[in-house]
């Protein structure tokens, strides 16, 4: 909502400075978004007079003028056709900035003749579109006077943000009322003019609405005018409209726009000659259409509230009028509409057809239902004042809706809800200044004025009181202490997520946060793309589907980093993926990738590329941080198909519960994402990890033996198809009482080992219990190890 300071002062008598008014607007909830004063840019320009104008010696269209600003004379070369001796002009001198040209004046030679300054056109000063010649000022302009002072341009334009509840401040009068209530001055009364019509209008209105849709247009008041003159509106009105960014069109149209911003009262005028019969409000039929004032043709879906004549739809009620029934400079007879339209219906129709107008904006927020007749009379007077003509008696259909909204108000609620200790009388006085009437004693009955459709309950009344009393007066109070138990702020899962992030950062990965949505093709590559997860109105086709995995985002990020010269990356993200659109379809997943070198070239070591085992190690680190029982996990070589089929796997708790997948990304997937490999990645499904059982902080007693443990090495030959994991599990299980650890320290395939076999060398740690091992004890355990390895994977001890 925009308005100028002088416009505000039409309704507010005040001595307050602009700064005070701005501060108060903020304080009462009318947030100041900006203040502009055209005078700021035009301060240096002066009124001057052309003393002589001679033809330029070397140019047909230029003149050499002598110009006086009262103090001195200067020579200016000018190309304007209207430059001539004696006229008063607007002068800019060297050093002055000309806003319309985005240019600072200097001394120049134009076709060999010195020129110091410029006489400006309206367009050059951004005061209009007129560029046919330089500005000619009337005689009352004083040579040497500041142009800003002469043209009364010192007019601050204030823009405020209006929250959706405050339609009463979508008119300047409402803003003045709020400021007056807040002590910024005195509110002036609105005109209560009543124009007596001299004849009965031949055009009338009917509300042809079914019983259950009466509320769409409960009241329609109109008046006909004959013999009006629809020229340009007066300068003062044009200036105000321009100041708030509206384009003056013609007196009649400008009046409707002006009243809309002045009083928050939308109006419409029809050219009476273009109406076929009388007006009616009715429900649109599907397929009816009209050319609207915005130049577009709208076809009704059926069900909209329209204003029509006997033949055609003219416009959407409360939203937009029709071009064919609109006013032109030739219009002489008009019909003025001042009506009420339903908030919800207006909003719905406006949204359905994508029309945003000042009228819709006000109606959908709730126009004052008790201000229809007075609004119409004020508009009538304006039309008569500016366009002349003969008014008819008013005609109308429907009735003023009942307005009797009261709210019970316990004054203590200002304290118990708002925290401010105010006496009841103080609250009542504030409410009365805002136009509420208050009756009874505490608890009071507050009668809500008809322009405050937003005030529904006691909390709204408290807000009104606090708002005017000042939110600054709200004291700062601490919440009472509670018996909140330490460590209960985060849920178990939140703790898992937090620990996982910190752990992955500790192993050298960088946490990224990427979009929850992605290109649907990418989603499809990763098992997603379900119709239920497609965004209906995406911001771009690159972000049109909820992600089934974070991997593609991280892989693409790796690609972007590679393009920037960083091909080796380790990235992770802990965030949601979406299996379906239900609450349970969103899973929390820790996802990571590594690309490029796992170990970069360095004098201390040999470099190597990332491998599936880096991803497995990362996955295990994440799982361990998330308190998954990592010792009990089994690696399966089945994994989702976006991984390399031979270099990927899953980590499971039992055969079904998949806690993680990991692997080298499939080369075809990388190609589709346009990223060079190898890239390895993992996904840890945090929701699949069983909640850790915890009975207390104590860790249980530590049982350690004083006896020295013993290590024994075994080299087994086994088929290449046999799994090392199975071998380890079998060996570890060979004698659970004594075997505490099994490690693979060497793998060998090649010379000395049959083609389809490999050699796996293990070291087994034996922990004695009670007494040290005798040789025969160790021999017995070794036999069990060999037997178990044979049984589980067909391994034979290498000779």
């Amino acid at each position: 909502m925009k308005f100028t300071l002088s416009w505000l002062k039409d309704y507010l008598t005040t001595d307050a400075s602009l700064e005070d008014i701005l501060a108060k607007l903020n304080a009462i909830g009318l947030e100041v978004e900006g203040v502009e004063n055209p005078a700021d840019a035009l301060a240096p320009f002066k009124v001057a007079q052309i003393i002589s104008a001679e033809p330029h010696p070397d140019a047909d269209k230029l003149q050499v003028c002598k110009v006086s600003d009262g103090a001195s004379e200067m020579q200016i070369v000018c190309g304007a056709p209207n430059a001539r001796t004696g006229i008063k002009v607007v002068l800019g001198q060297p050093g002055d900035y000309v806003p319309g040209l985005d240019f600072t004046l200097g001394k120049a030679k134009i076709r060999g003749v010195e020129s110091s300054g410029m006489m400006c056109s309206y367009r050059e000063l951004e005061l209009g579109d007129d560029h046919d010649g330089i500005i000619e000022l009337p005689d009352d302009a004083q040579v040497g006077q500041s142009f800003v002072d002469y043209a009364k341009l010192d007019e601050p334009m204030i823009e405020i943000a209006i929250t959706p509840n405050r339609q009463d401040c979508l008119g300047v009068y409402g803003i003045a009322r709020d400021l007056a209530a807040a002590g910024m001055g005195t509110l002036k009364a609105l005109s209560d003019v009543k124009v007596a019509g001299s004849y009965k209008s031949d055009v009338t209105v009917a509300l042809n609405l079914p019983e259950d849709r009466r509320g769409d247009c409960p009241l329609f008041v109109g008046r006909k005018f004959t013999g009006v003159k629809n020229g340009p509106s007066p300068k003062w009105m044009q200036a105000r409209l321009k100041a708030i960014g509206l384009r003056p069109i013609s007196a009649l149209v400008d009046i409707t726009n002006y009243v809309s911003y002045d009083l928050g009262r939308p109006l419409h005028v029809y050219d009476a000659h273009k109406l076929d019969g009388s007006l009616q409000a009715r429900i649109a039929k599907e397929g009816e259409s009209f050319l609207a004032l915005d130049g577009k043709t709208y076809t009704c879906n059926g069900g909209e509230t329209v204003i029509a004549d006997d033949r055609n739809v003219l416009g959407f009620g409360g939203i937009i009028g029709g071009e064919d029934s609109g006013c032109t400079p030739e219009t002489t007879d008009v019909v003025l509409e001042c009506a009420l339209f339903d908030r919800v219906k207006t909003a719905m129709t406006g949204r359905e057809h994508g029309i945003n107008t000042d009228a819709r904006y006000r109606f959908e927020r709730g126009v004052d239902s008790q201000f229809v007749h007075q609004g119409m009379e004020i508009a009538t007077q304006l039309i008569l004042d500016l366009c002349g003509g003969e008014p008819s008696e008013a005609f109308e259909a429907g009735a003023v809706p009942d307005w009797n909204h009261t709210v019970p108000f316990r004054s203590e609620r200002v304290k118990t809800l708002g925290g401010v200790d105010l006496r009841g009388e103080t609250s009542v006085a504030i409410l009365e200044r805002l136009g509420f009437t208050v009756s009874g004693s505490d608890p009071y009955t507050v009668h809500v004025p008809s322009w405050r459709v937003d005030v529904e309950g006691e909390a709204d009344i408290v807000e009104e009181v606090l708002r005017i009393h000042g939110y600054d007066n709200i004291p700062s109070v601490q919440l009472s202490a509670t018996d909140h138990k330490a460590g209960t702020t985060l849920s178990a899962r939140q703790k898992q997520a937090r620990a996982t992030k910190r752990r992955l950062a500790a192993v050298g990965m960088h946490e990224a946060v990427t979009w929850s949505f992605m290109k649907r093709e990418n989603a499809v590559l990763f098992g997603g793309g379900d119709e239920r997860l497609v965004v209906d109105n995406p911001i771009s086709s690159e972000l049109d589907c909820m992600r089934p995995s974070v991997l593609p985002n991280l892989i693409e990020a790796a690609g972007r980093n590679a393009d920037r010269g960083a091909p080796s990356v380790a990235l992770f993200e802990v965030g949601g993926i979406y299996r379906d659109d239900s609450d349970k379809g969103q899973l929390l997943v820790a996802t990571g990738i590594r690309a490029g070198d796992a170990v970069e070239r360095h004098w201390e070591s040999t470099s190597r590329k990332v491998s599936v085992f880096d991803a497995k190690r990362d996955a295990l680190a994440a799982l361990e941080a998330a308190l998954a029982p990592t010792a009990n996990l089994q690696a399966f070589d089945e994994a989702p198909d976006y991984y390399h089929p031979g270099r990927s796997g899953t980590l499971r708790l039992g055969p079904k519960n998949i806690l993680a997948s990991f692997g080298e990304l499939h080369p075809r997937v990388l190609k589709a994402l346009d990223v060079d490999g190898p890239v390895v990645g993992f996904e840890v499904y945090l929701d699949a990890i069983p909640a850790p059982r915890k009975s207390g902080a104590a860790k249980g007693a530590l049982n350690v033996s004083n006896l020295q443990s013993v290590e024994r090495d075994f080299a087994f030959l086994l088929s290449r198809d046999a799994k090392a994991g199975d071998l380890i599990r079998a060996v570890r299980g060979a004698d659970k009482a004594f075997i505490s650890d099994v490690r693979i320290f060497d793998l060998y395939e090649g010379k000395g080992v049959p083609d389809d076999m490999r050699s796996v060398a293990l070291t087994v740690t034996l922990e004695p219990k009670g007494e040290t091992f005798a040789d025969k004890d160790i021999e017995a355990i070794a036999s069990k190890v060999i037997a178990a390895a044979e049984k589980a994977v067909g391994a034979t001890l290498r000779g």
Binding site: R166, G419, V477, R498, E511, R532, V535
Partner: protein, 359 residues
């Protein structure tokens, strides 16, 4: 005999001094004290002596043996020291060579700020609640007193999923406020929660991205009022920005789900192109808040005549930008390694009240 002992001692001492290394010294030891060594041989003669002779020679021979052993030990230590010195001299490395770093990754500023916020509110007795990103219309709008025709719905630039068979369509939650609803429907007051998470609106420029992060706060009990809201926000912002004091400006505003509603500005300065929270002559809009609307309480089956409380919502990304000085929100989501390394936090920078929130 005495002369013999003296001569032998002299001879052995000379050989000890002449031994150039530990191996040569060992030879000297064996030649003197070994089973057939010169000293041992003399000792063997003791048995053949008369008691008087033995009484005299015994201590003399034992003295010789001890002196020789001592001299050998002393010489051995000297030789070992010299050998170690020589070895160390040969083992010099260029310690200016750069080493392979321990891997060090980083935690994203959004995670860090979420952890900071959780830490602050933990000390005020709050729990951290969560809700899904894909929300029902009920939780995101209707229960928050935003009926279908409400103008506020248009201000939200909502993303929708495709309608299901019943014509219902899920929204990508436009704020974290639906977690208020989920919490009130599930839990009995008193309630104190914060709800950080991802939110979505169709918007894109330097300070708006189609996905961003908010944190919601909700307190419901029987007597919490606007003063408590102000006190809580002051405590939060003071702790978060790690300053001695903050000055808040409360401005009346409108949110469908609170009444009274207010926007909160914090006093700051913009000197030298950076924002400094805590003093100065400017105001920075930082969050929206208010007392939970009666209709919202009723939608959650809470009696507004019994229960009341406050709610607030704040942009996490914005808090991060203000505190840590990033200027472009879009970079938060680009996973540029240079940005992550610069703005990210070490794994061990876990914010605590005792140890401080920022590094």
């Amino acid at each position: 005999m005495q002369e013999q002992i003296s001569a032998l001692k002299e001879e052995i001492t000379a050989r000890i001094d002449a031994a150039g290394d530990v191996a040569a010294l060992e030879d000297v030891r064996v030649a003197a004290l070994g089973k057939k060594g010169s000293v041992s041989e003399l000792m063997k003669g003791l048995g053949r002596m008369s008691p008087e002779e033995r009484k005299e020679m015994g201590p003399a021979l034992n003295g010789l043996k001890a002196e020789v052993a001592e001299a050998i030990a002393a010489r051995k230590e000297t030789l070992e020291e010299a050998a170690l010195d020589a070895r160390l001299k040969s083992e010099k490395l260029d310690i200016t060579l750069p080493v392979l770093d321990h891997a060090s990754g980083s935690v994203h500023p959004i995670s860090q700020v979420m952890d900071e916020i959780a830490e602050i509110f933990a000390s005020l007795g709050f729990d951290v609640a969560e809700g899904p990103d894909l929300e029902s219309d009920f939780h995101n709008f209707t229960a928050l007193n935003i009926p279908p025709e409400h103008p506020a719905r248009q201000d939200h630039d909502t993303f929708y999923l495709k309608p299901d068979a019943n014509g219902d369509r899920k929204v990508l939650r436009t704020h974290t406020s639906p977690v208020q609803i989920r919490t009130m429907l599930k839990e009995e007051p008193p309630i104190r929660i914060i709800a950080p998470g991802r939110t979505y609106r169709s918007d894109s420029d330097a300070t708006h991205t189609p996905m961003f992060h908010q944190v919601e706060g909700l307190v419901i009990d029987r007597d919490t009022h606007l003063g408590h809201l102000k006190g809580t926000l002051e405590a939060f912002l003071k702790a978060f920005f790690e300053v001695d004091a903050v000055t808040l400006r409360l401005r009346p505003s409108y949110f469908p789900f609170t009444e009274p509603s207010m926007e909160v500005d914090v006093q700051c300065s913009f000197e030298g192109g950076t924002v400094k929270i805590g003093d100065g002559n400017d105001w920075l809009e930082i969050l929206g808040s208010g007392m939970v609307h009666q209709n919202v309480l009723e939608a959650c089956n809470l009696d507004p005549n019994v229960y009341q409380g406050f709610a607030f919502g704040c942009g996490i990304d914005r808090l991060a930008m203000l505190k840590y000085g990033m200027s472009d929100l879009r970079a938060f989501f680009d996973a540029d390694l240079r940005w992550l390394k610069h703005y990210g936090f070490r794994a061990l920078d876990l914010p605590t009240i005792a140890g401080g929130l920022s590094r």
